[in-house]
Amino acid sequence: MRTHILGYIQLNLQLQPPLTLSNASPEITLSARNLSRRFGSRQVIHDVTLELKRGEVLGLLGHNGAGKSTTLQMLTGCLLPDSGAIDICGISLRQQPTLAKAYLGYLPETPPLYRELCVHDYLTFTARLRGVQSTAVPEALAQTLQRCGLDSVRQKIISTLSKGYQQRVGIAQAIIHNPAVIVLDEPTVGLDPTQIRDIRTLIRELGNAHSVILSTHLLNEVESVCDRVEIMQHGRLIYGDSSVRMQHYGQVSGFIISLRHPPALNELEAIPGVSRVEQLSPEQFRVFHAPDDNPGSLLLSMAAQQGWQLEQLTPLHTTLEDVFVKITSDETVKTGALK
């Protein structure tokens, strides 16, 4: 028991940022300023600025090839930015890389696993590699195995595990040393729905005590896990807000109606309260209205009077997909106009 307690103290001592006192705002665990990066002649990342607070989960959202993984590689020191600065817990990643990286946990796109080792040996190695004292390793290992649901496979060779379990081992190596900043590149790829739910719960739990930044192209992941969202397109951050507010971005009120005997378009537009009507097919229309003035009941009664034979009336829901598409296409239009 005594060794356990000692181990715990050592672990905590070691992971305490030594420079927090001198730092003006200790809340901020990761700050990246004006990062840019080119590969050959192609500019991949343009002037990216990010900040992450303790107890926050940030989702980095974007299409394939938007520059999410490159950004995360720069944040973890695997790739040097051409310009810009990164501080982790107030320590510059460029000037004191070894010191700064002690506060980092990183799961790359492909989990970095030595497949010939067993889970126990691999995680012991990664814990020591990330600077956990050897006396504190058993404690950290037991906690991580339990957290990631790996207890039953601890003695198995990693190459014999299923993809989902391998992904969990990948997450386990990123959190085993209790880092202040956890960087996860598409953490739920290849998992089944139950595992996805478990991992999201875990990320949420981690996000309460640490800072988590995760990249994803799954919008519901952002909805269920993240406190804040940054959307990335063509190497630029184009939108950043809390995930709740993002869902309200460009919200529209309206419904979709199907009529068996539709009237002319202008007849529908003439209904009081209707702001705009789009024809989707000969029988289907999208009707927009102001948020506080719903012409639904009026439309229903008119349909009955005029014999339009209403078949369907569905309110429009803005999903995160719509918001995402809207934000990214808005930005494309904007940059197109600039050019």
Partner: protein, 247 residues
């Protein structure tokens, strides 16, 4: 940290069946060659005894055995060094090391020490076999020591070169063939140069090993091996750093 990475390297090596296979086959070759040399020595021993200053058992059995081992290692070391960095890069495990709180120096020296440790186990059987002769005869310890030091330095230089070539590519196979090509090229440059004072001889690690093989501890040869190994280790560190710069 260096020790940690070296131990991980060893653990991975011993987790693979191919390692044990190579170990077994190589021990068999060494033992077979040793016994063959010993038999030849016993046959010509009566004739040797008539000479004024006859070569002893160490020179007739041990020296050729060490030279064969040196030649075999030239072919074999690239098979082991190919994995060192190329495979880490291919399996994307390099990100784990690059994002960990350690510098390129730790990674390179750790891997170097790990593989060298393994190869030392592999060649440790050579002096053991020779020392089994000490039961029946007296050995030339100086010659044996020079050979052991020479083979150790030679192996270290092979590993450093192989690791550098492994750091240049993503494909382990290319790393193996590349390292083999360079090592065999250096060897051919040595045996191909006709004149005894040709500068081509000086390039080849095997040429420098020959003086150790003859029982000569020349500081120039030691310096050659140390410089050769250190330069390739430094180049590997530089290459790993470039990995961060060029992606």
């Amino acid at each position: 940290m260096i020790r940690l990475i070296a131990l991980r390297e060893l653990r991975s090596l011993y987790a693979m069946p191919s390692t044990w296979f190579v170990l077994a086959v190589l021990q068999f070759i060494f033992a077979w060659f040793f016994l063959a040399r010993l038999e030849a020595f016993l046959e010509i021993q009566p004739q040797l005894a008539q000479l004024a200053n006859p070569p002893g058992v160490t020179l007739t059995v041990a020296a050729p055995l060490f030279y064969t081992a040196a030649l075999l290692l030239m072919m074999l070391v690239p098979m082991f060094t190919m994995r060192l960095i190329a495979e880490e890069r291919r399996n994307q495990t390099l990100a784990l090391l690059l994002s960990a709180p350690l510098s390129g120096r730790h990674i390179v020296l750790g891997k170097f020490a790990g593989l060298l440790g393994f190869l030392l186990v592999l060649i440790a059987s050579l002096p053991l076999m020779i020392y089994s002769l000490a039961l029946g005869t007296s050995l030339d310890h100086g010659l044996l020591l020079a050979n052991c030091i020479g083979l150790l330095l030679l192996t270290a230089s092979y590993v450093a070169l192989g690791m550098y070539i492994s750091a240049l590519t993503t494909q382990p196979l290319i790393a193996a063939i590349g390292a083999l090509a360079v090592l065999v090229g250096l060897w051919l440059a040595d045996i191909g140069a006709a004149a005894a004072d040709s500068p081509w001889h000086l390039l080849s690690p095997l040429h420098h090993f020959q003086s150790f093989n003859a029982g000569l501890l020349d500081s120039a040869d030691v310096a050659y091996f140390v410089l050769f190994t250190a330069s390739f280790l430094l180049l590997t560190m530089k290459r790993l750093h470039n990995n961060r710069v060029y992606g």
